[in-house]
Subunit: 264 residues, 2 copies
Amino acid sequence: MNEKTTDSAAFGDAPSAVVTAGLLVIGDEILSGRTKDKNIGYIAEYLTAIGIDLKEVRVVSDVEADIVAALDALRHRWTYVFTTGGIGPTHDDITADAVAKAFGVPLDVDPRAVDLIAERVGRDGLNAARLRMARIPRGADLVDNPVSKAPGFWIGNVIVMAGIPSVMQAMLDGVAPKLKTGVKLLSASVRADLREGDIGTELGLVAKQHPDVMIGSYPFTDETGGPNTSLVVRARDPARLAAATAAVEEMLVKVRAALAAAPR
Amino acid sequence: MNEKTTDSAAFGDAPSAVVTAGLLVIGDEILSGRTKDKNIGYIAEYLTAIGIDLKEVRVVSDVEADIVAALDALRHRWTYVFTTGGIGPTHDDITADAVAKAFGVPLDVDPRAVDLIAERVGRDGLNAARLRMARIPRGADLVDNPVSKAPGFWIGNVIVMAGIPSVMQAMLDGVAPKLKTGVKLLSASVRADLREGDIGTELGLVAKQHPDVMIGSYPFTDETGGPNTSLVVRARDPARLAAATAAVEEMLVKVRAALAAAPR
């Protein structure tokens, strides 16, 4: 029932060991703006740091069919899917139901989860609402929750975590050592000291000459209050990263000289 | 070519005038964690305030096929689709290309956009990179950019905005008066002074008895450092909102009394 081994297909299109992830954020409160999501940026940075490429994020409301559809779209495309939200004790917490449905497995009260929740609230505190948090899709492994005990779970390539940032972060720390990771994406930042519109064409040529390197361009307002641009070069291979970064720097020198020679 | 009228189909399943939206955030920098998105929460809150329900968000990388696929999924399902990011002057800015492809229209340099960009950089500054920002899918209306001139655009039910928060926010202000809006979703918050696990079952019964009202439950740590719960009741009809809110409050009184009678 556990499908942890099926995700090797995700490696098919990559020359080096690329491990990918999708993220599914579940909850009406994010879509209404009541709660400002703090998990997307955290998970993005975390996964990048350990060598997993986050490729897609979806935010959906507390509607089972929508959660199932998003889960199925993500889990068949990326190595891992992380979810946040919807595993609490109330009627609007339906992530476990949706995951069980997506995998076609029963959703039973899991004695391991019951024991963990009882550690926090005592056997007397195990009412129907709290037992709801102990419903785990059959075949799933539990994900430890050192903050408030009620566990997340891991089934197939889907890792289900809480929505509360402190709990999610603790769960991710617990899961991370068990994740397959790829060759880390290295990056170098170059400050252009030019406006994005001054270098777009020349930067495009550099990008074309270095097709296996990603080059991003991000405008920002610098300390003088003027428009500036940060160029970020990313590659898995250090030599290719260095070559593309050098090409970017050389291009910048040329453009600066050309603009200085023909000031407007 | 302009499809602004075709989205009335979105009203088909709603008793009152419900206007919905999807949001597509475009950019590798969000997925790598380099840039922390600030637009999702802002747009969610903004749309809720003007009577548009944000139903789904997707974040995709700078890959044309992925942008087109996400656009098509969102624009056929929701009244409006807002996009952020990918309309700058560099090679990685491919949102206009993807939108033109999704709508099957040519992507030409638009004289209206050229004039706007020239206001900022002068005719001499109109190099190939900046003219890239003037490429607008045929049939689209321009979206004003009072911050830095280079416009967004609006085609069919898709509204394309910049990724830089200050520019996006100004664009949204310009677009908002032209949007069809629905009956606003009203909301009431009730502080439970109980733990979520104490009220889950009873709250579920209240939710079942008020099927046309949304009731969300959000745990938080209160000023005593203890676990508490915020209950948010949402409905378009004020009488239904009031009835469900009263039922929630009545339930809380009962649960508090029961817990006081049988303390653990």
